[in-house]
């Protein structure tokens, strides 16, 4: 009778466990740490799996032991069992054995620490700077003098040192499929070594709680072949096509320059624009610090070549006309708490944009794509 009951309990337990495992770890998730595409994430995953399988053995011994003991020694009669106070040999054994297991785990762990947390030579590596802002990412390429936001472009199979900083609060820089995270700390510069094995699109996300819309501080990583990467760099130095005078895009440009360009740079393709952008971003921040409630200016994502971006709002929505109109109309409807809504004059009653004007700005922004024709004239 009791055995029957036990069997059904065990059956129910197994079904429950299987149900749980049915949900388990899908490498399809765009942020899955199982589906690694870089040596750092690979080392981290392999170390995890090494510890995990040892843990599984311990798990089976302990949990199996508990189940066995509770069934085997359930009370059958009123007799007192043998009164056993301990066994020194046994106890020393299960002190030493775990200690040995820990040593076995610790050795590859320490090797992995030094394999992943020591930076390669800067001269042989690509140096990228990542700066955390509430609630978006700024990416700078100091040697290449390129600046962008929320979408990090990297060449494949290249050692990359990401220099990590924060302008305001703590954030964390994390591309799960390529490498574990490192925090972005104000007044404290961090470095992260990464390397991407395969071209493709990867997801990144802020992992350190950073205020109201921490959840919506995401970014994308685009890994290129070396050739494509060079093309991308070239594009970032290429101006957009000329706009027809009187077109919606051109009207949008005027509105953008008048209302938005104080915070959003849009022409960093120009020579010397890189240092200028660094200065302006710094000044915007200083300005905002003086009066956080009413400042008309705040540091904001660089919009150079915005038409080529995949997402808007720091990896939140697909970059298309409809989403862009919605975003400009009321950023809060997509991402509550954005600074733009609080500081830009166009959201104050007397300066509100008409729907037509919003449409025009959206069209202009989407037209910000490098054009080889204008590149030819520009470079002359």
């Amino acid at each position: 009778m009791i055995k029957k009951r036990m069997k059904s309990v065990i059956k129910a337990g197994i079904i429950f466990a299987l149900l749980l495992f049915a949900m388990a770890c899908s490498p399809e998730s765009p942020q899955s740490t199982w589906d690694t595409h870089g040596p750092v994430a690979e080392i981290q995953k392999n170390l995890f799996l090494f510890v995990f399988w040892i843990a599984v053995v311990v798990f089976i011994i302990v949990e199996g032991g508990i189940i066995y003991l509770t069934f085997r020694y359930r009370r059958k009669d009123d007799k007192l069992p043998v009164q056993n106070h301990g066994n020194l040999k046994l106890e020393i054994a299960w002190t030493i054995i775990p200690a040995i297991i820990i040593v076995i785990i610790a050795i590859p762990t320490v090797i992995a620490i030094w394999d992943t947390q020591v930076m390669p030579d800067e001269e042989d590596s690509l140096v990228v700077e990542a700066v955390g802002h509430q609630w978006w990412f700024e990416f700078k390429y100091p040697t290449e003098e390129v600046v962008t936001a929320n979408e990090l472009h990297l060449p494949e199979d290249t050692d990359v040192i990401v220099k990590i900083a924060s302008q305001d609060v703590l954030h964390s820089f994390w591309i799960p499929k390529i490498a574990g995270k490192i925090d972005m700390v104000p007044n404290h510069n961090n470095e992260l070594y990464i390397k991407a094995d395969d071209p493709g699109l990867y997801y990144g996300q802020c992992a350190e709680f950073c205020g109201i819309v921490h959840a919506m501080m995401r970014f994308r990583v685009i890994v290129h072949t070396e050739e494509d990467y060079q093309d991308w760099l070239q594009e970032m130095r290429t101006p957009p096509g000329k706009l027809t005078i009187g077109s919606d895009e051109d009207e949008g440009r005027k509105l953008f320059v008048g209302n938005c360009s104080m915070c959003h740079s849009y022409d960093s393709y120009k020579k010397g624009a890189y240092t200028k952008e660094i200065d302006s971003q710094f000044n915007r921040w200083e300005e905002w610090k003086k009066d956080k409630e009413n400042s008309a200016i705040v540091s904001a994502p660089n919009l150079t070549n915005f038409g080529n971006r995949i997402t808007i709002g720091a990896g939140i929505k697909e970059n298309n006309y409809d989403n862009l109109v919605k975003w400009i109309e009321n950023p809060d409807a997509i991402k509550l708490g954005t600074r733009m809504k609080n500081h830009a004059a166009i959201y104050k009653n007397e300066n509100k944009l008409t729907n037509e004007q919003i449409n025009q700005i959206a069209k202009y922004l989407l037209s910000l794509k490098p054009s080889m024709e204008s590149s030819a004239t520009y470079n002359k």
Partner: protein, 630 residues
Amino acid sequence: MSTTNKPKQFQLPRIFPRPMGHYGIWSWVGTVDHKKIGIMYGIVSFFWFIMGGIEALLIRVQLSHAEANIIDPELYNQLFTMHGTTMVFLVVMPLSAAFFNLLVPLQIGARDVAFPRLNSLSLWIFIFGSILMNISWFTGGAPNGGWFGYPPNSTINFNPGNGMTYWVLGLNVLGVASIAAGLNFIVTIINMRAPGMSMMKMPVFTWMTFITSILIVLALPILGVAGIQMTADRVYGTNFFNSEAGGDPIFWQHIFWLFGHPEVYILILPAMGIVSEILPTFARKPLFGYSFIIFSGAGIGFMGWFVWSHHMFTVGLGPAANTAFTISTMFIAVPTGVKIFNWMATLWGGSIKFTTAMLFSIGFIAMFTIGGLSGVTHAASPSDMQQQDTYYVVAHFHYVLFGGAIFAIFGGLFFWWPKFFGYFLSERLGKITFVLMMIGFNLQFAPMHWLGLDGMPRRIYTYADDMGWELSNLAATLGGFIIALSVALFMINVIYSMRNKKIAPGDPWDGRTLEWSISSPPPHYNFAKIPEVNHIDDWWYKKYPSLLEGSPKGDLTPKAEVEDTSKVNEADIHLPDLSYYPVLIGIGLSLAALGVMYTYALVTIGLILVIWGCIGWSTEPVNEPNEKHH
């Protein structure tokens, strides 16, 4: 009356009469009886357990599906901040304190703790401190910077409003309560043990209380310092952590976790103590390797001081620091493993009775093991680079603190309930509670492991629908509601059992330690005659002296009986009288803290109450001379 010869002592004039007697509301407010104080600790922290649980359910509802808009991000941040803060400081710590209070004097054969009025002070500071922290819900927003309060997000620059000020002041006030209680139990355990009870004859729960109290006394002042610095930053414009003025946010992390990691053991060691009492009772054999259990507990408490930076592997301390803290953290698994194997060996060869208390204790070992093992995976710093700040960590510490601490506490409630209230909780309802809680708990927290490994960060109020996180989150939400159901069933059980009293004798479980040698509920003086102790589990061997020879042979009828109180002349037993001064100090301290945010008038009133309370307290005789005690 012997006081006539003594010079008249100064006494602060009383505004209210001193409460007297053992019945009625004032006997509770002014009580210095450790049992009443323990029960009040229990009731108040159970109330916060419900509140923290509701906060958790709201979080789960918002996360049940992708892109949900049920709770806005600001409220969500307040909810997870207060859920963490509540569960750590207002639930697990004071629930443990409830057990310390109820059990320690009984287990060591004492009539009360060393400083009964200080004990009452701890209680009232805790009660008013917990109210202080939660007033913030009604004054413009609860704390929203996380239970860890990392600056700069918690500084006034990025977090204007009073929420985080309430948080930090609340922690400071609660810290006073904890430190006072910690000192009280250290002194009690060192000095008040019954004759013959050497340290190595103390019950394991008392031992764990002792170690926990030492940790509290050493760790909480660190939080106090950090808290005062943060208060000064937020209220008086200092720049300890203000990054904009060059302050160092990482400084906070070091001091917070230097407190925070020992705090983890403050939360779990009492639970280990509870389980170590329940397992031998229902296996009917002594705890396997008593001294190994004690020393591994002390080892955990000691090693807990050298691991704080494992909360900071991603901060950028460099490979050397990460290596050191990886290794120190991993080695905590050794004493923890020792305990688990010793508990299993206690079951081995036993005669196990599956009471609700026993089920929760076995559940504790099973679930705590999972939490311990996942802990080793992110003790390995490279592996933790992926897991830090993801749901994997959320899963890990809920297996330790819910599957661990809360399971053990529920086990303790079912185990000692008959001792303190004189009737049993319904075992049938109790077992259903256990099964529901076990299922709900695993359904809620097991999927969080994979959520974390699939890249879901903590503290996000929503997530996109293309992330593949929906099914696991839905399961977790469902699990949360099953846990809620089990807690509701526990409350129904309490009411049901109160109405249909199944009276408990003094020693209902064939217990082992001294608390079972007196009647249930215990008389207010505990022991009519202070017992003399010769062995570990002294009561057990008083009942079955033949077992001292070894194997159970011959006559096994109990040779000792629960102390008979009917013939006790209470006038012969001297216990301190009640006092309302601790209540005054408790109110005063919280009012003063509140005033720091609003007006110095309130600070002044608060401090006057505190000073009045202190002077009144120190000039108040332990016993009112005109009462007939002698």
